[in-house]
């Protein structure tokens, strides 16, 4: 049986049979891998917690007839502090859910893995109020890598400069549409000047620096709402974790 080594991030697990798991990973090259961890649900399994979501592992994979099988896994980064905090786990679930839905088998995207690791590293030690900023920054950058780089300054059709302040963010175009270019049926959402500035700052900041930007919660909540609409518009699969997180953001904003 041919085998190969790969570094990958665990995104999701599905129960298989009595004691096995199918684990969905994002590999270092950006491809999605689905592999079977035999006996992983039995106590004393050699996998232990090593294939739990948010863990980065070095694995040896055997190619079987249908699915690949994990024959060995070593932890690179466990992101244990994410698992010890409810809010961190919720935020990290949005990251895993997005990666699960946009990554494809045998389709490389080198930057996606680095973005995923940088995001989870930042969430691992994050305070509660930094988590929403990290989620928004991740969605902005993730969508850009997925081929939908959002724009905030120029009309997404003709390139003419948008004025200062509030814009109408057209979901299909991924940016503002000037008056001359805005079609009647276009789905668009309002983005205030503050939230627009926040999106630009988050887009260009490194993940490790996102918390230091100190964007107020209300502004982040608005930016999150727009990015969520943008993701939902372009990613055909239903992102359930994103939906749940959105409900929590709304609740926190009302309080």
């Amino acid at each position: 049986m041919p085998s190969h080594r790969v570094r990958a991030l665990s995104l999701k697990k599905t129960k298989l049979g009595e004691t096995d798991l199918i684990v969905t990973f994002l590999a270092e090259d950006g491809c999605q891998i689905r592999a079977v961890a035999k006996g992983a649900r039995k106590p004393g399994s050699r996998f232990g917690g090593r294939v739990e979501p948010f863990t980065v592992v070095d694995m040896l994979l055997h190619t079987g007839r249908t699915l690949e099988t994990i024959s060995d896994a070593e932890i690179v980064t466990s992101h244990a502090a994410i698992r010890e905090d409810y809010d961190r786990a919720q935020a990290a679930s949005v990251v895993a859910d997005f990666l699960d839905k946009v990554s494809v088998e045998c389709q490389t995207e080198d930057r996606l893995f680095a973005l995923a690791c940088a995001t989870l590293d930042a969430m691992d030690g994050a305070e509660d109020d930094a988590l929403l900023a990290l989620v928004v920054a991740f969605l902005l950058k993730g969508m850009a890598m997925h081929g939908y780089r959002p724009q905030f300054d120029a009309c997404a059709v003709c390139g003419s400069r948008a004025g200062a302040g509030e814009i109408r963010f057209a979901l299909e175009l991924g940016g503002p549409a000037c008056e001359a270019c805005s079609g009647a049926g276009d789905e668009a959402v309002w983005l205030s000047g503050d939230a627009r500035a926040a999106c630009k700052a988050l887009m260009s900041a490194k993940m490790a620096e996102v918390a230091e930007l100190g964007v107020p919660h209300g502004v982040l909540a608005e930016a999150f709402g727009v990015m969520r609409a943008f993701v939902v518009y372009h990613v055909p699969a239903k992102l359930k974790a994103l939906g749940m997180y959105s409900a929590e953001v709304l609740r926190a904003t009302r309080e």
Binding site: R41, P43, Y86
Partner: protein, 199 residues
Amino acid sequence: MAFYAPPIARLLEELEHLPGIGPKSAQRLAYHILRGDAEAADRLAEAIVEVKRSIRFCERCFNFAESEQCAICADPARDAAVICVVEEPRDVVAVERTGEFRGTYHVLQGAISPIDGIGPEQLRVRELIDRLGKESVTEVILATDPDIEGETTALYIARLVKPLGIRVTRIASGLPVGGDLEYADEVTLGRALEARHDI
């Protein structure tokens, strides 16, 4: 499916709806039933009908029950001041096997898993909090699975229960991470229960 006589096709379709049963397994089960005698098939069919008719969820703890309350809730010798919170009815069986626990249970019927769209609202969390308001409970033991979903669920419930002034404990992490509670052997699970800690 057109290759099969309609009654076989119907059986295969029903079998394939069962968890863990794919087309191959469904075929194997269907042929086993077809090759067996009529009485065996009747017994199987009756057992399925009977279990659906006679078993429901306990109105207090959501374990399987034969009447409004399960056998454990109805037992006056059980200590109602301690509630052990588990994910599934089969976890009640696992904890009972240890012989270490004399309190009552609360079965959540799942665990929080955002990526699968399962949040607290899909679980019996509200009912647990209602119980804490009505019954005089002194300790809630969180015995959800030692994996990410179980941990997240435990953290969520701890956050709701602690402000009520009730002691919240988590079974000891002697349990291997990533495993299902129901597969833990009695000795390990018994020790984990004994060595629970406050969270």
